[in-house]
């Protein structure tokens, strides 16, 4: 890697935000954090990161969805990988998730990452997207 890729991490749980920041940084990335969807959007516009990782359930239950949607509609955002981070799946009884193709389309995220983050898997997925984008 020539220069560090910039990853935007959005989570309203400050502890998890810091832990994931350290984990991702340990793999050689630069991590910028935001602890609300609102802040996430502002930082996204300002920093134009290479990838976004967004927690699904924040202040409002759908703010992760909404932020993801906005980023994917953005001129810069539509070309970068956006991952949704969540522990809310059908397994835990939530009425929404990202397991069906229809939902994935609606959510508009590239990947759905379960909590807690398994860092090696996460990096693998991320690198796949970077490689794919490079070939384009």
């Amino acid at each position: 890697m020539n220069e560090k890729k910039k990853i935007l991490l959005v989570d309203d749980d400050l502890d998890l935000l810091e832990q994931n920041k350290i984990l991702i940084e340990s793999k050689g990335y630069e991590v910028i954090t935001a602890n609300s969807a609102k802040e996430g959007w502002e930082i996204f516009k300002k920093t134009k990161p290479d990838a976004c990782v967004i927690d699904l359930i924040m202040e409002e239950y759908d703010s992760g969805f909404v932020l993801c949607h906005r980023i994917k509609k953005d001129e810069h955002g539509k070309n970068i990988p956006v991952f949704i981070l969540t522990s809310a799946t059908y397994d835990t009884g939530f009425k929404f998730g990202a397991s069906t193709s229809e939902e994935k389309e609606w959510i508009n995220a590239d990947e759905l990452i379960n909590k807690p983050v398994v860092i090696d898997e996460f990096v693998q997925k991320l690198e796949n997207y970077f490689e794919l984008n490079q070939r384009k």
């Binding site: 749980d13 502890d15 832990q19 340990s26 409002e60 009884g93 807690p116």
Partner: protein, 493 residues
Amino acid sequence: MQNAKPKILVVDDEKGLRIGVQRLLEMEGYEVDVAENGKEGIELGTKNDYDIAIIDLKMPDIEGIEVLINIKQKFPNTVCFIATAFASYDTAIEATKLGAQSYIPKPFTPEELITEIKNGYQKRQLLLEEEKWRKEREERLLEVAFEKTRLNTIINSITDGVLVVNKEGLAVLFNPAVYKFLEFSEIKVEEYILDKLRPEILELINKFLLSDSKEKRSYTIQLEVKPNSEFFIEATASPVFHPGDNLAGVVIVFKDITELKKIELIKSQFVSMVSHELKAPIAAVYGFLKLMIDENIKLNEEQKKDYIQRSMVRLDGLLKMVNDLLDISRMELKTVRREIRKICLTEIIKNILDLFQVEIQKSNITVNFNYQQNSFCIDADADEITRLFTNLISNAIKYNSPSGNITISINQTGNFLVTEIKDTGIGMKEEEKKKLFSEFFRAKNEFTKNISGTGLGLSIVKRIVDSYSGKIEVESEYGIGTTFRIYLPLSVN
């Protein structure tokens, strides 16, 4: 002849004949009463239910026919003979039409009379028998009719739908409530109904109709009739057997279980919310521990200490949440053992404020506690009331602005004590106010990010207030402050 002597009334104005007949019949074993004129005849004949009456047609005061009519009206089973010398075909016909057994022409021989009386007595026995039988039959019919209306009344009063289908698939019995559960609005008795029912219900019925099983079990299904949980029904089909154990038909009972399903849904949503809320602190602590043992990650001592402290804060929060959940569960199950006694609100609030002294000073909050008298008392469990006001005062501190104020006052309004807790904190938006008392709701905005809480405090407050038939009022302005007003019934003493 039976045990009791047959009773005979003789009505005749001719003394000789009267006494002669009396003697004759008494010798034959009859009990005889005599009347010497029509008036007396009517009197006796309508007073006693005679087996037989012999009535002279021509009497000076009242005609025999009149006596006959009166007796027959009162006792239709008294066998009446009309006796007279002035026999004519017309009077005989008239007498029999009016209910006389027959006509005895005067003069008659003792043998003639005895024969007539014997026949008359037999007739009397038949009449009595017939009467008895008719009465029984009437009673039975009445009973059956009563049973039938009673059964109908009961079935029609049931709010569950009831439908009985016979072996041929004809509707034989149903109540008005059943229409709510079917797609069509009219059933005719004896109408073929199977092709009109929902396939799922038909399948249920066919489990009995299409099998020879003599099993006396029933089958139940639950159906979502209208989408989005708007209307859920439960149908239970049970076989109806003839006395000989042959299948007579199937009875289907329909129940509206929409409310039940709604509660089920709320319950499962609550469980998912609880698990999600419990998972968050666990994930945080797990994450810190994992970081600390990760050989690829270098942490300095200060960082490690920080992470341990933050883990402890999360675990503390987890513990509080579990305790709150247990409290809620106990309140829901009504297993809280309450010790209701007269407690003094001012006392309780003073104690709570003492406990929060450190937090109050730390946030530099000014507390004003106003009350008119010390003896504001309610009948309640001290622990519950302490819990109630602890949660509210804790919120007033947590969500206050730095160097803010808390004003607490107690006043009496009617039969209620009104405790007002007013803060100068962050306040709430309209939509937040609506969700205030629901579990795990916490106002989340830039002010509250760093405030910890279980999201259960106000839910517990509401449950406690409700359980004392009290009331909560909330006034709030975003960024200005919030006022809670708690109404609790005044002690009866």
